[in-house]
């Protein structure tokens, strides 16, 4: 993968995938539509989704599921199909970069399978959470689900660079530590690459910016919980874009008020002070995700023939699916419209 990432690509390859993504982006639910969705009940939301890109998945799954489960499964299936489509319609470097980025979902799936198997969930329940969009396909994950023991599942990854991390479960490591190490492995394996071409640099910078956001979320979340610095430091992902590992460690040792002052000049801080001091962590996370997405949209329009428009589309698609899921689950649990709205990331 490293040798591939440094290769140069033709402008036509970017032009093609960016044009396709631009069309796909137009099909995302416009921000004004969320006001309508918030005033609908669950059945109306399902009907609304039937008039959008999610129709195929809703129709396909309607005989098996209903209500919030139907929406949940349809959204996951649609997301994985969109990602698979991006891989299908791209070639060369764009394809490699997309696959590399989507490896995030491999780790999501592996974590869910291990967790599900460890705690005795049915294969159907685990399967419902899988988004087979990365290096491994649906059949591979199904074959993992068919395995009886955790050991067999871990051994299926023998020879992979993250096998040593998974192996720790067999030697008594805690699942939470292994999960964090897998996430760190995902980010560092990409961000640690040296960018030989401008195209690869855009991609690596994107990941490094995501690391800044991830680290900031982790530090603030654990700080708000009153976790001591020595427990926060191992959770910090190296190779941040602007927030280096050393700086992140220093932040972990500070008080909340000091942290805000220390990060005032970072790219991801914008009107964050009020939110950090007064709001619960989920809203701070939302604010950071919003800043992150807006920044990416802006960057993607500055570099139209690069991987950035594709990555920003993938980010927006994920945000849309999360928003729809929050609306559906919020409606099901009887939440007030205003409370649900506050949980959404509307870009």
């Amino acid at each position: 993968m490293i040798s591939k990432i440094i290769k140069r690509t033709k402008i036509s390859e970017w032009a093609y995938i960016v044009a396709r993504v631009r069309v796909m982006k137009r099909k995302l639910i416009p921000r004004d539509e969320y006001a309508k969705l918030l005033n609908m009940d669950l059945n109306e939301i399902a009907r609304y989704l039937e008039e959008t890109e999610y129709k195929k998945e809703i129709d396909e799954l309607a005989f098996r599921y209903s209500g919030v489960d139907l929406i949940d499964h349809a959204l996951s299936l649609n997301l994985s199909r969109v990602y698979s489509k991006l891989i299908r319609i791209s070639k060369g470097l764009p394809r490699d970069l997309i696959v590399l980025y989507l490896r995030k979902w491999d780790f999501w799936n592996i974590k869910n399978i291990l967790r599900g198997k460890m705690f005795g969930f049915t294969n159907e329940e685990i399967e419902a959470t899988l988004v087979p969009a990365g290096e491994f396909d649906e059949d591979f994950f199904k074959s993992l689900l068919a395995k009886e023991s955790i050991e067999e599942i871990v051994n299926a990854f023998r020879g992979k660079p993250f096998y040593s991390i998974l192996e720790k479960i067999l030697h008594g490591s805690k699942l939470s530590d292994v999960e964090d190490e897998l996430d760190k492995f995902y980010y560092t394996s990409i961000a640690g690459l040296s960018a030989e071409s401008l195209d690869a640099k855009y991609f690596i910078d994107f990941i490094r910016m995501e690391i800044d956001i991830v680290n900031m979320k982790t530090i603030l979340r654990l700080k708000k919980e009153g976790v001591p610095a020595e427990e926060i430091i191992p959770k910090i992902v190296p190779y941040g874009y602007q927030l280096t590992e050393d700086e992140a460690r220093k932040l972990a040792a500070m008080e909340l008020e000091e942290i805000y002052k220390a990060i005032e000049n970072y790219w991801f801080v914008r009107d964050l002070r009020e939110v950090v001091m007064t709001q619960p962590m989920s809203k701070i996370e939302n604010a950071l995700t919003r800043i992150w997405a807006e920044r990416m949209i802006k960057k993607a329009s500055n570099y139209p023939l690069s991987i950035l428009p594709v990555l920003s589309y993938m980010l927006l698609k994920k945000i849309e699916v999360d928003n729809l899921r929050i609306i559906a689950r919020g409606k099901e649990s009887g939440m007030e419209v205003e409370d649900i709205r506050e949980q959404l990331v509307i870009v």
Binding site: D72, F107, W108, K111, N112, R115, G116, M118, F119, G120, F121, E125, I126, A128, T129, K174, L175, S176, D177, V178, E179, D180, L182, D183, K184, V214, K217, T218, R221, L222, K224, E225, V227, E231, K235, V237, P280, M281, S282, I284, E285, D322, R325, I326, A328, R329, G330, E332, S333, G334, M335, D339, Q343
Partner: protein, 209 residues
């Protein structure tokens, strides 16, 4: 009436009546006191139950959001991985002679290092759901405590009420009846004695004449 119509019995009876009346007044005061206490606690109970319902709603909402953001399996498995059962200590409190429980919960919240889920790949919504359920457990225990107190108070009020009624409508009236009967009997005996004495005196006078 099954009483000995003697002066001694009358004295004893009068003492018992006085004692019963005093007891009756005290029990009445206790009953009124308990009812007042019950009303105050009832107001608290309403507030605590409303709070519990509110916390349950909040916990459900937070859970729904956590499931939306982090996936159903992640949230469910976190719930299943809680191997510590909530434990609590039971103490006693005395309200006007009624022993009621005081429940204190021991914190079951795990530190981040002890928790069974990764931090980097999950969102704070999971933490918020955990926190909301912790608050719900506290609210449930508070309701349990106040409900038990109310039940005990109701039982005590009922018991006191029965005692007050028994004294007021049965014990004291029957003792007063008995006292009246003895008084009447004693007066009757006095009158009989006077008549008897008069008759003896009459016979004596006749014999002397």
């Amino acid at each position: 009436m099954d009483v000995q119509p003697t002066r001694m019995e009358l004295i004893k009876l009068r003492r018992r009546i006085a004692m019963a009346k005093k007891g009756h007044a005290l029990l009445k005061m206790k009953r009124d006191g308990l009812i007042m206490e019950f009303r105050t606690i009832l107001e608290d109970a309403k507030r605590v139950i409303d709070e519990m319902v509110q916390r349950y709603r909040e916990a459900q909402e937070k859970l729904a959001l956590a499931m939306a953001a982090d996936g159903v399996v992640a949230v469910k498995s976190i719930a299943l991985s809680v191997d510590k059962e909530p434990s609590f200590t039971l103490k006693r409190k005395n309200i006007m002679g009624v022993v009621v429980p005081v429940i204190k919960r021991e914190v079951v919240r795990k530190s981040v290092a002890e928790r069974n889920y990764g931090v980097i790949g999950t969102t704070a919504r999971i933490d918020e759901a955990v926190e909301a359920y912790e608050a719900l457990i506290d609210a449930i225990l508070e309701v349990a405590e106040i409900e038990t107190t109310l039940k005990r108070l109701i039982e005590e009020i009922e018991r006191t009420k029965r005692r007050v009624n028994a004294l007021e409508f049965r014990v004291i009236p029957s003792m007063e009846d008995a006292a009246r009967y003895i008084t009447f009997k004693l007066e009757e005996m006095d009158r009989e004695n006077i008549i008897r004495l008069k008759k003896i005196k009459g016979k004596k006078e006749k014999a002397e004449a």
